[in-house]
């Protein structure tokens, strides 16, 4: 009896112990948060200013809301408005990738969890291996392959390669395995459900959380992708926004002292706006779904 009374008091004392230590911990946590915000703050604020203001005014000051519009209009002077092409390419490619990757991964995960097909273990292990190898490791052989089938500089190559989604397949395998009891499939089979109906009528309607998780990871993994499209696409009208941003570095004097003055009005605010177009969609998705990130990356290993 006595000990049960004692414990909460003791606990309270223990939690509050070492105020100095806690002060340093909290200060560091807040300091790190501020550091984390500075680069993004600079990027978001720079396009609101003129090139002179970017240098002259306080680095984290706001210029004018019209600055963004102005920078966008200037960006459109570059290469006959190719920036608009880049935006459209980025959006279209990513929609295609997210849809194909999510659909194929969800189906594959379902089959791996609900069936007794042969080579299931081989599939799972090769999926895990592909998921732990950085995708850029295969860029050179992928280029050779695409060259052989004549898809170099064709957006289809980037879309297809990026749609291979082993991590998504693994996530959906875990999801279906843990949320849908095998008995449900068994009784549905007895009632005459075909394999496709098992997926379309039972598994898919129960996978809202999974689909959003798959789409989230597919999007953040591909939106800012650089190396693979850089190797596969060489016409600037096929570029995505990240490639276009790199192209702007190369071909304007905005941040590259090696390029001489040009007639195109691309300076720091314009380059920064192009950077915002790449970073902002990811930032928004991250802020809205930070829980998904943790849930997905730890999927399968958390045992209740």
């Amino acid at each position: 009896m006595k000990s049960t009374v004692d414990t909460p008091k003791k606990k309270k004392k223990l939690v509050q112990e070492n105020r100095v230590g806690m002060f340093f911990v909290n200060s560091w946590l807040i300091f790190f948060a501020l550091i984390s915000l500075v680069p993004m703050a600079w990027l978001l604020l720079a396009p609101s200013k003129t090139d002179d203001q970017v240098t002259g005014n306080a680095p984290l000051s706001f210029g004018n809301i019209k600055g963004y519009l102005n920078a966008w209009n200037n960006l459109r002077f570059f290469d006959n408005g190719v920036i608009e092409k880049w935006v459209i390419n980025s959006v279209v490619f990513n929609i295609a990738i997210v849809i194909i990757a999510t659909a194929t991964a969800s189906l594959a995960g379902f089959v791996l969890s609900a069936s007794r097909i042969r080579f299931k273990r081989v599939f799972l292990i090769s999926t895990l291996i592909m998921m732990l190898i950085p995708p850029v490791a295969l860029v050179v052989p992928l280029f050779v392959l695409m060259d052989k089938v004549g898809l170099v500089d064709n957006p289809l190559s980037v879309i297809l390669i990026s749609s291979l989604y082993p991590f998504g397949t693994f996530l959906s395998y875990i999801y279906y395995s843990t949320t849908i009891p095998a008995e449900l499939y068994e009784s549905a089979r007895l009632d005459g459900c075909t394999d496709w109906q098992l997926y379309s009528r039972i598994a898919f309607p129960l996978s809202g959380a999974l689909i959003s998780l798959l789409a989230f990871f597919a999007f953040i993994g591909n939106w800012a992708n650089y190396f693979m499209p850089y190797v596969l696409l060489y016409s600037s009208e096929n570029y995505t926004l990240p490639l276009g941003l790199g192209f702007l570095f190369n071909s304007t004097p905005a941040i590259n002292p090696g390029v001489g003055a040009t007639s195109v009005p691309i300076y720091k605010p314009e380059i920064a706006l192009a950077g915002v177009l790449v970073a902002l969609p990811i930032l928004i998705v991250f802020l809205l779904s930070q829980r998904r990130l943790v849930k997905g990356m730890l999927a399968g290993s958390i045992k209740e």
């Binding site: 190898i133 650089y226 790199g246 941040i255 090696g258 991250f286």
Partner: protein, 293 residues
């Protein structure tokens, strides 16, 4: 069932397995440096004068990057786990912000931060006596500059993930340790850290494999910002140059394979030596049952 697996299986074979075999098949092809072809492409690429330079650069970069990642991320996650005020939520949101600045955007933003004329940390730079970008952007400084870029691009994600793994520790263990008189520090180092060990291994493998393949940052700095500062600086840049500048696909493939080996070993360690991906699920149990029927 097979038909429903087919689209993924096609992608896996076409863009995962096939390229691996193609890389191997490509190696013995003749090229300028390996005129009569053959498997000595491996030794030729290792003897390329740029290879040891890349070893030095990427090695130096990893020497900063990996400890920086592992120590900061784990320490931050443990600290966040101690602090249980409502502020924690906003702090975690702040940590994730730099994760949206990667690749090309990271080059732009970190160029600005280390350019004293426009830098948001101008006063810090001048405190260290830096008043010209030339003092910073030198080839020999790239190991830590690129480590900083790569660190901020992924640290936030991992802080959140490891914080998530800490939430998974049962509160009974923590209570018991507290009652036994563990301080917050002892609790973190002796109880929590060993319990999240496998997530730490998982992270180490992914961070290592990713670091080895560093490409965008040095490549864009080299071609787009300070021309020549990081020419064939990393392995992937060398591989890119071999393939697309010299047309030496044999050498580039050989280099890709050499780079794949450590990643592959890491992947196999995580898969077979930790229980990270050991899924004990009701479907598995069900499948066993079905097999018995």
């Amino acid at each position: 069932m097979i038909l429903m697996l087919a689209p993924y299986a096609f992608l896996l074979v076409a863009f995962g397995v096939l390229p691996l075999f193609m890389a191997v098949a490509e190696v013995p092809g003749p090229s300028l440096t390996n005129a009569d072809g053959g498997w000595d492409a491996f030794s030729i690429v290792v003897q390329d004068f740029r290879f040891p330079v890349a070893v030095k650069n990427v090695g130096g970069f990893m020497l900063y990057f990996i400890p920086m990642m592992m120590i900061t991320v784990i320490a931050m996650a443990l600290m966040l786990d101690v602090k249980t005020t409502k502020w924690g939520k906003y702090l975690r949101l702040a940590y994730i912000v730099p994760a949206s600045i990667s690749g090309a955007v990271a080059v732009l933003v970190w160029w600005a931060i280390f350019e004293p004329t426009i830098s948001p940390i101008k006063s810090v730079l001048s405190f260290f006596g830096v008043d010209s970008a030339r003092q910073i952007w030198q080839t020999e400084n790239l190991t830590y500059l690129i480590a900083i870029m790569a660190f901020f691009a992924i640290a936030g994600n991992w802080i959140l993930i490891q914080y998530g793994s800490l939430q998974n520790i049962s509160s009974e263990i923590i209570e018991a340790a507290r009652v036994d008189g563990c301080s917050a520090f002892q609790l973190a180092v002796r109880i929590k850290l060993p319990l999240i060990q496998k997530y730490v291994v998982y992270m180490a493998v992914l961070v290592f494999a990713g670091g080895l393949q560093i490409f965008v940052e040095p490549q864009l700095l080299n071609t787009g910002v300070y021309t020549g500062i990081a020419s064939s600086w990393s392995f992937d840049q060398l591989s890119y140059e071999l393939a697309f500048k010299a047309g030496d696909f044999g050498g580039a493939s050989a280099l890709s394979i050499i780079l794949l080996i450590p990643s592959l070993i890491g992947a196999l360690i995580v898969i077979f030596k930790t229980d990270m991906f050991d899924v004990k699920t009701n479907a598995d149990k069900g499948a066993d049952k079905e097999l018995n029927v």
